[in-house]
């Protein structure tokens, strides 16, 4: 300890321990962390982008089949999940706010609520998957089976095409949700230990960015997958 460091306030001293050795100061470290997450989210957009492109191309090729297949999804559960996720984004934002203002108790509470909502989403999703598995509507060769009536111009193959896009996209999204829950669990642990202060809370902010991104992906998925065929008379 040099003489200069002895005069640091408690908070500054705390921040100094969170500063990794290769950064010059907290500002630089925070900037790096935030930029890193944004760059990561860009790669995520490209990752989902491949699937969205596939979706667009096959939807253009098989408009009717996609509408029919889409109407077999339960849009009410989808809407419920949308509401759950939007609320979780709000609670996540509040958790970040309380991290910034240094209210540890509220921060932990809102992180826990966010986790709860995330888990709710996954449970609802699980029920939806369960129903599809029961009906053999999972597009795996040998398992897939479709015996519901199809309107003219629609073949079971094209319905299967929709279903694999549905499972690939929602499955990938669910995987991101699970990772997000893991990150939140770590945040709760460290928040409990009092790691985050108004000076050092970059991990909470960065995880918040990730959580919002995962929500936004769902905001795109819900109308594209669930609402596409809701107007059809033979929808459920």
């Amino acid at each position: 300890m040099t003489a200069a460091e002895i005069h640091l306030t408690d908070a500054e001293a705390h921040a100094a321990t969170a500063l990794q050795h290769h950064f010059d100061n907290m500002e630089q470290q925070r900037e790096a962390g935030t930029l890193g997450m944004w760059v990561f989210l860009i790669t995520e957009i490209m990752f989902f982008g491949g699937l969205f492109t596939g979706y667009v191309i096959y939807r253009l090729l098989n408009a009717d089949a996609f509408a029919v297949a889409s109407s077999t999804l339960n849009w009410k559960l989808g809407a419920l999940n949308t509401a759950v996720l939007i609320t979780s984004s709000l609670t996540m934002a509040l958790a970040v706010f309380y991290a910034q203002t240094g209210v540890r108790r509220m921060q932990i509470i809102f992180l826990l609520i966010t986790m709860l909502l995330g888990a709710t989403f996954l449970v609802v999703k699980g029920f939806e998957y369960g129903e599809k598995i029961e009906k053999h509507h999972v597009p795996i060769a040998g398992f897939w089976h479709w015996d519901e009536a199809l309107p003219a111009g629609v073949t079971a193959e094209r319905v299967q095409m929709f279903y694999w896009i549905y499972f690939a996209m929602t499955g990938l999204h669910a995987l991101h949700m699970i990772i997000g829950l893991g990150i939140l669990a770590c945040l709760v642990y460290f928040a409990w230990r009092g790691r985050y202060t108004p000076e050092y809370h970059a991990p909470v902010e960065i995880s918040g960015l990730y959580w919002h991104f995962v929500d936004i992906v769902w905001i795109f998925l819900f109308p594209l997958l669930y609402l596409l065929g809701a107007h059809l008379s033979h929808g459920h």
Binding site: A63, D64, A141, W144, H145, W146, A152, G153, V154, T155, A156, E157, R158, Q160
Partner: protein
């Protein structure tokens, strides 16, 4: 639209294949232009590097040359001039591309089906060949191609043509042979174990020889075989010739736009007919929305599909048209395949034929149906 190419008479260059088609000379001319550009710039850059490296070699260990920041005029020059040169290549290359991939209307059609690891050809007159294609000199020939399994690519270097052959769709390429001879024919899209053995020859013959060859192993024309199939598969019970049956009438349909149930308009071309046979529910003609035509997927081979298309097209052909005439003069001799059993020997690369069990192990010919979901 066909873009006419100017006449070019170029002698055969060293290290090039024979020029045996009407477009080969044009490709060689562009090649010559590109080689000249490459030589010019390579020699320029290499020459400057050598000159500078010698002239400005380090003379004393601690000399420090005067810095030169750059020069906007120079940068502009070597951005704009290469760009202009590149544009000339682009225009030349693109016009040639259109000429190579737009078959002329009066071309004779030959059906090509690729299959691991052989090429099957079928002439309008009915002859079938494997790995060897006979064409008369001077005739414009259009190849309508598809494959039974993976992607292949048909290339004839002497004609400077090539086109991929893609499962589930038809691709086209055309040529006009100008010189009798035997020219290599290759598969150039990697297609599995015996990829390098999937080749043969294009045999260009004088008209008289070609006629003699044609007479040698006459078969039914694709259209005639298609008609037989049309009867035996029971198509005719719904698609009637003179009266409206349960399905649309097919006479005069080919090449015309058709109104669909969902309002769109589709031209009844090869791809559409193919889809309608394999996947009848995909596009349904207006007024036939409730008809449940069964799918013929798994029941007809790619070659039979081409025969059916030829037949349906013949129903629309004006009398005497070149493309899809029915050659009823040569009744079938029972051998519908028309394939000589030892055609593999025609393969110029016969040393590569699989010589042991290992070589042949990779023949997973499970292409049809088994993975299809129940309907």
């Amino acid at each position: 639209m066909q873009i006419p190419l100017p006449k070019i008479d170029l002698p055969r260059l060293p290290f090039t294949p024979e020029q045996a088609s009407s477009t080969a000379g044009h490709v060689d001319a562009l090649y010559l232009y590109l080689v000249a550009i490459t030589l010019f710039f390579s020699v320029l850059v290499a020459g400057l590097i050598f000159y500078f490296a010698v002239k400005y070699r380090r003379r004393t260990p601690d000399e420090i040359p005067r810095p030169i920041a750059g020069s906007l005029p120079l940068e502009t020059m070597w951005t704009v001039i290469p760009l202009l040169i590149a544009m000339t290549i682009f225009v030349w290359g693109a016009s040639l591309y259109f000429a190579l991939y737009r078959p002329p209307r009066d071309a004779v059609e030959i059906f090509v089906v690729g299959k691991q690891w052989m090429w099957k050809f079928q002439h309008t007159e009915g002859q079938r060949e494997i790995n060897e294609l006979h064409v008369p000199v001077g005739a414009k020939v259009k190849l309508t191609m598809t494959t039974e399994d993976v992607i292949h690519s048909l290339a004839v270097p002497a004609f400077r043509i090539r086109s991929d052959v893609v499962p589930g769709r038809y691709t086209y390429v055309w040529f006009q042979a100008t010189k009798p001879g035997r020219y290599y024919l290759f598969c150039t899209e990697y297609c599995g174990t015996n990829h390098s053995g999937m080749g043969g020859y294009v045999v260009v013959q004088e008209q008289k020889e070609y006629q003699a060859w044609l007479a040698g192993g006459a078969n039914e024309s694709p259209a005639a075989q298609g008609e037989k199939l049309f009867q035996s598969l029971g198509c005719a019970s719904c698609h009637k010739m003179d009266v409206q049956g349960r399905g649309p009438m097919l006479a005069g349909l080919f090449g015309k736009p058709q109104k669909m149930e969902d309002g769109q308009e589709v031209v009844a071309d090869e791809a559409y007919i193919r889809e309608s046979i394999l996947d009848p529910q995909a596009k349904r003609v207006l007024g036939f929305g409730s008809v449940q035509m069964p799918s013929f997927r798994g029941q007809v081979t790619e070659e039979q599909l081409l025969d059916l298309i030829a037949y349906i097209r013949s129903l629309s052909a004006p009398p005497g048209a070149g493309g899809g005439t029915i050659n009823t003069a040569a009744p079938g001799n029972g051998n519908t395949s028309g394939i000589a059993p030892d055609t593999q020997r025609m393969n110029p690369l016969s040393p590569t034929a699989p010589r042991g069990p290992q070589g042949a192990q990779n023949t997973n010919t499970n292409t049809q149906g088994s993975n299809r979901p129940p309907q």
